[in-house]
Symmetry: C2
Amino acid sequence: MLKIPDHQVAGHHASNGTLGPLIDDSGRFYKPLQGDERGSAEAAFYKQFTSNTQIPDHIRKFFPVFHGIQVMTASDGSEHPHIVLQDLTSSRINPTIMDIKIGSRTFGHEASDEYIAKCLKRDRETTSLQLGFRISGLQVYISDELGFYKPPRDLVLKSSVDGVRSLFRRFVAADQSIVTPDLEADAALASAVYGGTDGILAQLLELKAWFEDQSMYHFCACSLLFVFEKRLALEGASQNAQVKLIDFAHVTEGRGVIDHNFLGGLCSLIKFISEVLGDREENKTQEGDS
Amino acid sequence: MLKIPDHQVAGHHASNGTLGPLIDDSGRFYKPLQGDERGSAEAAFYKQFTSNTQIPDHIRKFFPVFHGIQVMTASDGSEHPHIVLQDLTSSRINPTIMDIKIGSRTFGHEASDEYIAKCLKRDRETTSLQLGFRISGLQVYISDELGFYKPPRDLVLKSSVDGVRSLFRRFVAADQSIVTPDLEADAALASAVYGGTDGILAQLLELKAWFEDQSMYHFCACSLLFVFEKRLALEGASQNAQVKLIDFAHVTEGRGVIDHNFLGGLCSLIKFISEVLGDREENKTQEGDS
């Protein structure tokens, strides 16, 4: 039983003459192979990465499980190859999700003049150049009645630095302050989602340690996906928040050089998340004092 | 008593109608104020940084001491403002020096199209884009008879990745393998210069910890200077190798964002230095075993 995924916050959708992304009820996500070299590059990455014995287990868990390539037949009989991956939201009922494209630049050092110009324009129009990352999309569960807060993609991409700060607070807001224009959403779930020994910050620091050393891959234009279930966060459940790396169409070989572009952006992201967490814990202390 | 410095490996020199850099015998370096906005920007940085109480002492030591601005009179009577700084080589007899420009890009996020195009071209022609840094110049003391190994600046800037690896080995080579075309210079002084609790690697790691947190400045197009005295290194003296940050004409305000561009490049540099050190210590172990 295949269906169109409910919880995609960024990336490509179905368009004329193509099959879009699909999910099945066994927890698999079918990502259409992009028609140009990006599709084959992403498939090649997954194959190589899956068989690479130098990836430690505590790092492999940050990557979607790869189940191979499968040709899907559309209703008109046309055939479309898909990359079959672990569906990162299948175990979630109302997943709160953020997609963050990492890196101050989204082009590799060997890219063509034309491709560099295109990427650089986009990196300057968004926060990538300034912050080392840009938020590509998000959805935040509010309630069964109100559904999700899911601002339009273009609006998210055009966020200012303060806008990005605000989105990191809204992402972990417990109440309806999520949808108010106030920049200071309450961030009540910061400790539950960002904090703790298995929260998002701890996972980012684990990734950072690997990026300081690994020189096999340069993860150009890849994203980090944050996922958690608000109900579980409100209950204070552990192992709720997950960080995953996705979108490998522009991965290149590291050839002995670390991915300083990804690492720099990751460190900048860590600083933003730490600040939301620090502010929140400072407020809690002050509340306790009063 | 002013004279022209012997040990400048990169940067600007005297040209027609200007006074170049000068040193005096009390350990001061007189850097000509560049005529355009770069000069005033660098002077403004030194003034602001010197009075900034948020700079910890263990970080301030990485910056040259600033002694103010002084107008120097040339022999033709013309007047030229200079930034007066600590002369980083005055206590050295035969300093071995490397100048490394840090950052995958050398322009800030608010630079003009024209300036970005100019910098990006240079960053792509050198190793900046690929490695997150480029070696801008170096001199390695060989012996009183042979003097210094000081390859032409253009040749250094055009180094390949393997060329950069080789220069990091030559920089700490003890013997005449420095001047051989062999890429594997012996790196006999790696432990004495790069290693140890006060070696270059330890200093870079100290800087890295600060850059993971500080969001006051973005050090665009700044350089790290490595300096040591070979005689002292051969004797195994401690506190011989120094790391300094120089060239602040393009520093901008961080406005709450870490300098992910500098940090990424610094981490890449740390990986290169660690590898020379690791290789050398591996060789020593193997020699010990045999």
